[in-house]
């Protein structure tokens, strides 16, 4: 589904952060990407999503869906989302004045339009939204609340998972979804993510801490350091990092 081929990336007109990343993600797989601060984890997430502050300076990212392969660099952020790529933000953005219902209905219908599928009217969308809110464990009072405004850290992260549930993407990149969460919130978020995993979608879970991987079991684990993947393996690698620390990998 996703082929990251020797990709280098930098902040626009600034420092190079990723220095030749290779990553292959297939449908049904969940890849964890771990690393110390500054290793480039969020940069990787943002270039997949198409954040305007970052650019790919070398290599390509190919995205294959419905037997069509496309170079991600040629796709606008909204196009990538319409083609099934979703980024759960590390710091979800507050959108005052725009309720979750309005925001998500606009997204959902934009994706429907792109895929040539009929849009949902507000009442039908409301039903869908409430169904997904139940799945993710979010109360109905959030329907009309403005997106993320004054939510706690845990509520914001859970709201990202709600959006994931509503949009049903093929490739979900979860950027440090666990950072700043207490164990209870973490379990709820993990539960939501696990319910959404399937054979037809794939996930890239970016994390600093190993803890979340106890609840969301990855198929592959990669360790990122100084913009490069220095080691790849399975869950055992995550346990090693947890017990020995990132410095151990310098050797």
């Amino acid at each position: 589904m996703l082929e990251v081929k020797d990709v280098s990336a930098s902040v626009v007109d600034g420092t190079t952060i990723l220095k030749g990343i290779n990553l292959s993600v297939k449908a049904g797989e969940l890849h964890a990407v771990m690393g110390p601060n500054g290793s480039g984890k969020s940069t990787l997430a943002r270039i997949i999503a198409g954040h305007p502050d970052y650019e790919i300076t070398g290599g390509t990212i190919e995205y294959e869906v419905n037997r069509k392969t496309r170079d991600l660099a040629e796709m606008e952020p909204h196009e990538r989302a319409c083609e099934g790529i979703f980024l759960a933000f590390q710091y979800p953005v507050e959108v005052p004045g725009v309720s979750n219902a309005v925001f998500l209905r606009a997204s959902f219908n934009a994706v429907c339009r792109h895929q040539g599928v009929p849009e949902l009217d507000p009442l039908d969308f409301d039903d869908l939204l409430k169904e997904k809110m139940k799945l993710v464990g979010i109360g109905e009072e959030y329907v009309d609340r403005p997106v993320n405004v004054d939510y706690s850290g845990g509520e914001k992260k859970r709201n990202e998972i709600l959006q994931l549930a509503v949009l049903g993407p093929r490739l979900a990149v979860l950027d440090e979804t666990d950072s700043g969460l207490d164990i209870d919130s973490l379990k709820i978020v993990a539960e939501g993510v696990n319910q959404l995993r399937s054979d037809t979608n794939a996930m890239v879970l970016i994390t600093h801490y190993q803890r979340i991987l106890q609840y969301i079991r990855p198929d592959y684990v990669h360790v990122l350091k100084d913009g490069r993947i220095v080691k790849s393996g399975d869950y055992a690698l995550a346990e090693e990092v947890e017990s020995k620390g990132y410095d151990w990998l310098l050797n």
Partner: protein, 435 residues
């Protein structure tokens, strides 16, 4: 004012006087009009050299030749104003004349809507005369004087003491554009009795392509302990000119919310003057304006704290796109003796294009020490993080800007506290965002 303009308005005034005589209006009314027209001739239209008209050039109005509206066979009005709403009592004027066909026949207990000519006929002439007396007002007397001089018909809304009017009362002035460059001078008088409650809407709607000049004046008196929401909607045609003055005076413990929604017209100026004349009175001035293309909308508001212990809040938000221009001048005046005043004024603007421009000036004139007054003004653009967030969820840039812009104005719309009306206003904003 140029000789040509003076001549033109003068001959137009003669026609208006003639019409008045034909309609058998009383001498005092003719006299009021003549005095007003004299005043208008003497002072002329304001120029940009005057402080309160610095950013608003009315030359496009002075250089147009206007005509009086003609009675014409009623065009398809329903398509312009929609079907009758069950939750409203409607009083609809089409091109300056009341349309009984489209207005709700029965008002409600405790509510009277009287045409001026009917008030004159049923013995309220003297009362009406004094209510209409002071046309000289505002930041320039020219427009109110013009309204006084040319006004042919108007409506007097009376809400009885203790009356609670459940339905919204909607006075709608529709300009169809059947006659190009029509000059309209609607007048509304409102008397809200003690402890009464009502929700009034005054809207100015223009049919597509209508060219017109409306100079409207509204006088509101709110008695003790009354509660009133007054919502003015300006949705004139893109080529129209609009001047609207609303002045209100509140007695003790009354609570008024003014809501000013301005979206139409080529050049529009709204003046709102709220006087607090009784202790414990509270007033909210909320407003929303949206300009695009080459529109120019100017809002001047004043809250005048004349007695102690009154509370005022002003909150206006504006969205500007293309080469749109907006002006906001929000004043809080605190007279000596008006101790214990609590007044806040805030104007926030969202610019969606490089060429849009807003001039915002808060103004505080405070004449005693025992007050709590703050003011603020902001001018900003769409937040980049919010924009990327929306786009990362599949929404293209234009649509994302529309969603975020609507979000920007949502909290002000919410203050209306009336869902159906908020929905109507959302609808009026649809045309703004349809690119």
């Amino acid at each position: 004012m140029s000789e040509t303009a003076i001549q033109h308005f003068s001959s137009l005034f003669e026609t208006a006087l003639q019409k008045g005589r034909e309609n058998g209006e009383p001498d005092w009314r003719t006299h009021q009009r003549e005095t007003a027209f004299s005043r208008f001739r003497d002072i002329g239209f304001p120029t940009v050299r005057q402080e309160h008209w610095k950013y608003t050039n009315v030359a496009p109005i002075t250089s147009t030749e206007f005509v009086l509206p003609q009675p014409a066979p009623l065009p398809d009005v329903s398509s312009l104003i929609g079907e009758h709403r069950e939750d409203e009592i409607e009083f609809i004027f089409v091109d300056g004349a009341l349309s009984r066909e489209h207005s709700t026949a029965k008002a409600a207990a405790g509510l009277e809507l009287t045409l001026f000519k009917d008030a004159m006929a049923n013995g309220e002439g003297e009362l009406l005369k004094s209510r209409l007396e002071s046309s000289a007002f505002g930041k320039s007397d020219a427009f109110p004087s013009l309204n006084q001089a040319f006004g042919s018909e108007g409506v007097w809304v009376k809400i009885a003491d203790n009356a609670v009017i459940e339905k919204r009362v909607h006075i709608l002035f529709l300009t169809t554009g059947t006659v190009p460059n029509a000059l309209l001078a609607p007048r509304v008088i409102v008397d809200a009795g003690r402890s009464s409650q009502a929700f009034l809407v005054q809207s100015h709607i223009g049919g597509p392509g209508a060219s017109s000049f409306t100079s409207a004046v509204t006088d509101i008196r709110v008695a003790e302990n009354a509660k009133l929401t007054y919502c003015k909607i300006q949705s004139e045609a893109p080529d129209a000119f609009h001047y609207g003055l609303i002045r209100s005076s509140q007695m003790a413990d009354s609570h008024v919310m003014h809501f000013d929604f301005s979206r139409g017209g080529r050049l529009a100026r709204n003046e709102l003057y709220a006087g607090l004349d009784g202790q414990g009175a509270e007033v909210h001035l909320n407003g929303l304006y949206a300009v695009k293309d080459k529109q120019h909308i100017d809002n001047h508001t004043t809250v005048d704290h004349r007695v102690p212990r009154c509370y005022s809040r002003q909150r206006y938000k504006g969205i500007l796109d293309d080469s749109g221009r907006a002006v906001f001048n929000g004043a809080v005046v605190v007279q000596p003796g008006a101790v214990n005043t609590d007044g806040v004024q805030l104007n926030q603007n969202l610019l969606l294009s490089r060429d849009a421009k807003v001039n915002t000036k808060p103004q505080l004139e405070i004449q005693n020490d025992d007050v709590k007054c703050t003011h603020g003004a902001t001018i900003g653009q769409i937040d980049e993080d919010q924009l990327f967030y929306a786009m990362s969820r599949g929404v293209n840039k234009d649509e994302a800007i529309a969603v975020l812009s609507r979000g920007f104005v949502e909290d002000v719309l919410f203050l209306l506290g009336n869902k159906p009306l908020q929905e109507s206003l959302h609808g009026l904003l649809d045309s703004y965002f349809a690119n």
